[in-house]
């Protein structure tokens, strides 16, 4: 692959107490690549995503995103300063299953919060940018509303705009459509697809196998804290070689059908 590497993970290990969640994860993701992380519950997909922006602190391994690199074989996460971690997180955007919008702020204030508080941009500048992003996700007319007035799909689109406002190098989606009513899933997937077309580097933890096949350049199947199989969707989804992948996909297809 000739494209520059955006994310590189080597020997990543994470455990909570004596429960090991990630055993030895190695990944390389190129700039502009869209990666779908699939696998059964408890396989460590979400933890992997959360390790990538240090919401969960890895125990071992090296994580490189853009120009920043952390070697957790050398450093203990507790030693990292709050500021260092905050700066690292600012370059990745994260979208959560339960949206986590700020309920005491209007939609546009939600989107402006990062640029104003973290990047110290002037309010007028941040407002103009926020309105542009809200238009991009189709919610410009909801700018002055409070999140509680929005549907789940609208909330999630605001959350995407909020993450994009930080001009992230990478977008991480943690089951972004799992908490949505079925009829609202499409509007969020459409926004994600647009981002893919614009060349955003993205990692999606998802249960939407059909969507993963459509937008992802690479699919990673995880189970019990290890990567079982990785490759283009045509290979991993349509012609999996590993028994675990086959079993998982058979179950998912049965539910979908």
């Amino acid at each position: 692959m000739s494209k520059p590497i955006m994310i590189s993970v080597r020997g990543l290990k994470k455990s909570f107490g004596d429960q090991t969640v990630l055993r030895d994860i190695n990944l390389e993701i190129a700039k502009g690549e869209v990666v779908a992380l699939i696998g059964p519950s408890g396989s460590g997909k979400s933890t992997l995503l959360r390790c990538l922006n240090l919401l969960a602190a890895p125990n071992h391994g090296v994580i490189k995103i853009g120009g920043e690199c952390f070697d957790f074989d050398q450093t203990v996460p507790e030693k990292l300063s709050d500021r260092t971690m905050a700066r690292f997180r600012a370059q990745t955007g994260m979208v959560f299953q339960h949206f986590n919008l700020f309920p005491h702020m209007t939609v546009v204030q939600n989107v402006m919060e990062g640029p104003v508080t973290v990047l110290r941009r002037p309010k007028a500048h941040a407002h103009a940018q926020a309105m542009k992003l809200l238009a991009q996700v189709g919610l410009a007319e909801k700018a002055e509303m409070y999140p509680e007035k929005l549907s789940g799909g609208q909330k999630q689109r605001v959350a995407i705009a909020r993450a994009l406002a930080m001009d992230p190098e990478v977008m991480l989606f943690d089951e972004a459509t799992s908490a949505l009513d079925p009829e609202l899933v499409g509007e969020v997937l459409n926004v994600i697809k647009q981002l893919a077309e614009r060349g955003m580097t993205m990692i999606l933890v998802t249960h939407e196998i059909a969507f993963a096949r459509e937008v992802a350049d690479k699919v990673i199947f995880m189970r019990d804290g290890v990567v079982v199989e990785a490759g283009p969707p045509a290979q991993v989804i349509d012609a999996p070689t590993q028994a675990a992948t086959q079993a998982f996909l058979a179950r998912v297809h049965k539910i979908a059908a």
Partner: protein
């Protein structure tokens, strides 16, 4: 049958008014200082520093688990001996009620902070906020909304607690009432008036607290 005579209280109006003023002003002071202590201690108790948390927890439990009357007396009679300083009744009372109120306020503040969903912290951190920015911009504004009704209730308790100041001869409403009772041998009238005055001050406050609570449920 007792024959009431409230008319004779008129000559003591100056003393009664001064008692009301003392009670209200003293409450204002210990509410403000208590809130300051409460917010600082409440923040300290959600910090990750275990020693700090332990020390603050000790403070809170000591003041929650001893009667405020005992604290007032202790601060006036015992503390000066221990520290070799002299405390005026005002100072001792202000110190005791500040620390007593602070202990209760801090529990309200801590409870308000931990009641905010952890997803808010994660969302803030995910856009690159530091812990303090998350606290200041996301957690505290949401927590303070939830904390307002219990903080108002606790402040009402503070006003009632100032009635104990009379044991240290601070001339609050109760103390002035006692003076007048001794002077007139008419305790029924004066203590009834004292009770009515407390009610007149506090009832509107409880109405406000109730409104805030209803507002909270709607929001």
């Amino acid at each position: 049958m007792y024959s009431w005579d409230f008319g004779m209280l008129w000559q003591y109006r100056g003393i009664i008014v001064s008692g009301v003023i003392t009670t209200v002003l003293f409450t204002a002071v210990v509410v403000i200082t208590g809130l300051l202590v409460g917010v600082l201690v409440g923040l300290g108790r959600v910090s990750s520093n275990r020693t700090l948390c332990g020390v603050l927890r000790g403070y809170v439990e000591v003041f929650r688990c001893t009667p405020v009357l005992v604290q007032l007396i202790w601060f006036y009679y015992a503390l000066p001996v221990l520290l070799g300083i002299e405390l005026s009744p005002w100072m001792a009372a202000a110190l005791a009620l500040t620390l007593y109120g602070g202990a209760f306020y801090s529990e309200i503040v801590r409870g308000g902070i931990v009641s905010i969903d952890a997803g808010q912290t994660e969302a803030g951190q995910a856009i690159g906020m530091t812990r303090w920015q998350v606290m200041r911009r996301l957690i505290l504004p949401q927590a303070f909304r939830r904390m307002t009704p219990p903080l108002v209730s606790q402040s009402i308790m503070q006003l009632k607690n100032t009635s104990l100041l009379s044991v240290l001869a601070v001339p609050d409403l109760v103390y002035q009432g006692q003076l007048i009772a001794h002077d007139t041998y008419r305790p029924l009238e004066i203590y009834t008036l004292v009770a009515v005055l407390y009610f007149i001050i506090l009832f509107p406050a409880t109405v406000v607290a109730k409104r805030l609570e209803l507002h909270q449920i709607k929001a």
